[in-house]
Amino acid sequence: MTKKLIFSLIVLTLVALVALPLCSACAPAAPAKDKIVVGMSRPLSGPMALIGDSAFRPVYETFVAEVNADGGIYVAEYGKKLPIELLIYDDKGDVGTMTRLTEKLILEDKVDFLWPACGTAFIFGQAPIANKYNYILLTAEGGATTIRDILPGLPYVFVSLSFSDWYQLPVLADLLAEKGARTAYIMYIADLHGIEYSGVAGIEFPKRGIEIVGIKSVPPDIKDLSPILKEAKASNADVFCAFAYPDQILPATGQSIEIGYNPKVWLGGPGVNFGFYHAAFGPATEGIMGFTTFSRKTSPTANELADKLYAGKPEEVQDWWGHPLYWAGLEFWKAAIEEAGTLDQAVIRDIMATSTFDTILGPTWFVSGLMAKECHTGEIGQWQSGVFEVVGPKDKATAEFIYPKPAWPAP
C-alpha cells in the first residue's frame, strides 16, 4: 500500500517532467507576426557574468531600446515595423547549459533570431548548433583564428570581432618597428586567446626585426604575476605584452607599478580597452597600450555612438574595442533584414554574406564570415590623458603614438 503510494508519487513526478514541457510546446501557434523575438543565452550569474554584462547592458539593451523607439525593424513581408523582443536565459557560465538553452530557444521557443552567447569557448559550442538549425549567428565577444578555420563549414556563422592576425598584431608590429623597438617579452594566458596572440606575435614581431626574448604562459586564476613581471624586467625588453583577460591585466598593471617595471611599451589585452581600467588606475594608465576599434575622434558617428552608449553612465561600462564592433554587427543585421523584407534565415544569410551596409564604422561587409578588416576603424589604442586613442594603423589614428611610454606617475 505505502509502496504503491511512493511509486505513484514517482510516476506523477516523472510524468509531470515529461508532460510539462509538452504542454508548453502545445501552446497555440503564435498569431500573425507583431514582433521579432530574439533569443539569447547569457552568463547572467557565475564567473562569466562580468564579461557577459560588460557587453550586454551597454550594447544590446541600448540597441533594442533604440530600434523599438523607432517602431522596430521594417519587414516588407508583413508591411510594417516589428519591434524586437528579447528572450534571455541564464546559462550561468556553463557551456553545457548554454548548448541546451540554445536548442531550447530554437526548438521550443522558436525564436526568430539568435544573438550570441558570451566567450570564445561558448561561441565555439554555439556556432555548430546554430548552423545545424540554419540560424544566423553573428558572434560578438569571442572568436579567434580557430573559428576562422571552421567558418567555411558554418555558412550561418558571422564573426564581427577583430583579433590577433585580423588585424591587430601586424599593425602593432609595424608601429613598434617604426619606433625602433628591438626586443619583446610576452606573457600570455593559458587558453586559446593567449596561445593565439602569442603565436601570431611570434610570427609578426620577428618579421619586422623585433626579437622575442622571453615568453611565459600563465594559467587563469593566478593573480600574483610579480615573478613573471620581474623576469620581464630583467630581460630588459623594449616591449612587454600581456595577452590575458582583465582579471589578470589589472593585477599585472598594479604589480608593474609596484616593482617599478616601466618598459617602453606596456601592452595588455583585453582589459586595457575598458573604462574600468582607467577608473582603476587613473593617470597611471598614461601610455599603456591595448586593442581598440575607435575613439570619439574617429568620426562624428563614432562620437554619436559613444554618447549613446556611455553618456551619463559610469566610466566603467566603456569598451573601446568590442562595443563598436558589436554595435556595427547589430546594425548590419538589421539592415540585412530590412533588405531581405522577410525573416527567412536563409535569405538574410545570403544577403549578409554578399552585401555591404552602412554602419557606425562606415561601409561594412563580411568576407567569408569575417568582418572585413578594411571596415575596422582602428586596431591599436593607447591611453593618453584619460582617452583611449587609436594609434594604429597610422591612417586611422586619432593621436600620435607615444614611444617610449612615460614613467609611472609618482605616488
Binding site: A49, S54, P246, F276, A279, F281
Partner: protein, 289 residues
C-alpha cells in the same frame, strides 16, 4: 641570484600572508562552529565591495574602512548563525548530520549573497589603486599594499590568538571547540559562543576582502575561488588552528611563488599536488591533532 631568491621568498611570504588571512576566518568557523562555510568567499567579496564603495564613492581611506567593514560583516555573520545555523544545529540528530546540512546551507548562502551582490554592484570587474608604491627590501621590490596586507594579517592573527588564549570569551570558544556538549554543561552559553565565532570568522573574511581589494581586482563572482584556497590552507595547517592557517598559507604561498618562477603553468597544479601529498602523509594537517 641572491636578489632572485630573496624576491621569490618574499613574494611567497606576501602571498602566504594573504592566504593565511583568507583562511583564518574559515578555520574558526569550521574549527569551532563546525560549519564548513562554502560561502566564505562571499563574505570576502562583500568586504571587498564595501571597501571599494566606501573608497571610490565616499573617499574613505581603505584602511579606515576596517572600522566599518569589520563590524558590518560581523553582524551579518552573527545574525546568520543566530537564525539559520543555530536552528540547524538544534534540529540535527548528530554532529555529522549538522555538518553536512550546514555545508549545504552555506551553498545556498553562496548563491543568495552572490546574486544580491550582482544586483547591487553589477557584474563588472572593479579595482582601485591604493598604496601601490614600491618598497625596496634588500634589493627586491614590492608593493606597499602587499606589505600592509601581510602586516594586517599577522596583526589580526596575533590579536585573535591572544584573544583566544587570554580572555574569558576566548576560553569559552576554545572549550566549545573541544566539546560543545560539555562546554554547555559548564555554563557556557553555547549558542551565543558559536554565533560569535561565526561572526568573527565572517568579519575576518570581510577584512580579508578589504585588504585584497587593495591588491587585486574584485568582482561579484570572485568568492568561490578564495573559498577553495581557504579550504586548502585550512586543511594544510590543521582545522581550527590560527597558527596553522599561517603555516598553511606560507607553505602554499612559497610553493606557488617558487613554481611560478620556474614554470607558471604548473603553479596551480603544484598547489593541489602539495596539498594532496600532505593530506596523504598527514591526514590531519600540519598542526592538526
Amino acid at each position: 641570484m641572491m636578489v632572485t631568491i630573496l624576491d621569490v621568498v618574499i613574494a611567497g611570504l606576501l602571498l602566504g600572508g594573504i592566504y593565511a588571512l583568507i583562511a583564518m576566518g574559515l578555520s574558526l568557523q569550521y574549527g569551532v562552529a563546525r560549519v564548513l562555510n562554502i560561502s566564505h568567499g562571499e563574505f570576502i567579496m562583500v568586504g571587498a565591495f564595501l571597501t571599494w564603495m566606501l573608497y571610490t564613492v565616499f573617499g574613505i581611506n581603505p584602511l579606515l574602512c576596517l572600522v566599518i567593514v569589520g563590524p558590518v560583516v560581523f553582524i551579518i555573520g552573527f545574525i546568520l548563525h543566530k537564525t539559520l545555523f543555530t536552528r540547524l544545529r538544534i534540529s540535527s540528530t548528530s554532529s555529522g548530520a549538522f555538518e553536512s546540512r550546514s555545508l549545504l546551507a552555506t551553498f545556498g548562502l553562496l548563491f543568495i549573497i552572490q546574486n544580491i551582490a550582482l544586483i547591487a554592484w553589477g557584474a563588472e570587474i572593479r579595482g582601485y589603486a591604493y598604496l601601490n608604491i614600491s618598497v625596496n627590501l634588500g634589493g627586491a621590490l614590492f608593493g606597499a599594499n602587499r606589505l600592509v596586507t601581510l602586516g594586517f594579517a599577522i596583526a589580526i592573527g596575533l590579536a585573535f590568538y591572544i584573544f583566544l588564549a587570554r580572555t574569558r570569551m576566548g576560553k569559552a570558544i576554545r572549550a566549545a571547540a573541544q566539546d560543545p556538549a560539555t562546554a554547555g554543561l559548564m555554563g557556557v552559553n553555547i549558542n551565543q559562543v558559536l554565533a560569535l565565532c561565526f561572526g568573527f570568522g565572517a568579519s575576518m573574511a570581510g577584512i580579508a576582502g578589504l585588504l585584497l581589494s587593495m591588491c587585486y581586482p574584485i568582482n561579484a563572482a570572485m568568492g568561490l575561488e578564495y573559498t577553495i584556497i581557504a579550504i586548502i590552507v585550512v586543511v594544510l595547517g590543521g582545522l581550527g588552528s590560527i597558527p596553522g592557517s599561517f603555516i598553511g598559507g606560507f607553505i602554499l604561498g612559497l610553493v606557488g611563488s617558487i613554481v611560478t618562477y620556474f614554470e607558471p603553468g604548473l603553479a596551480l597544479v603544484s598547489y593541489y599536488v602539495i596539498f594532496m601529498i600532505l593530506l596523504l602523509v598527514r591526514p590531519t594537517g600540519i598542526l592538526g591533532k
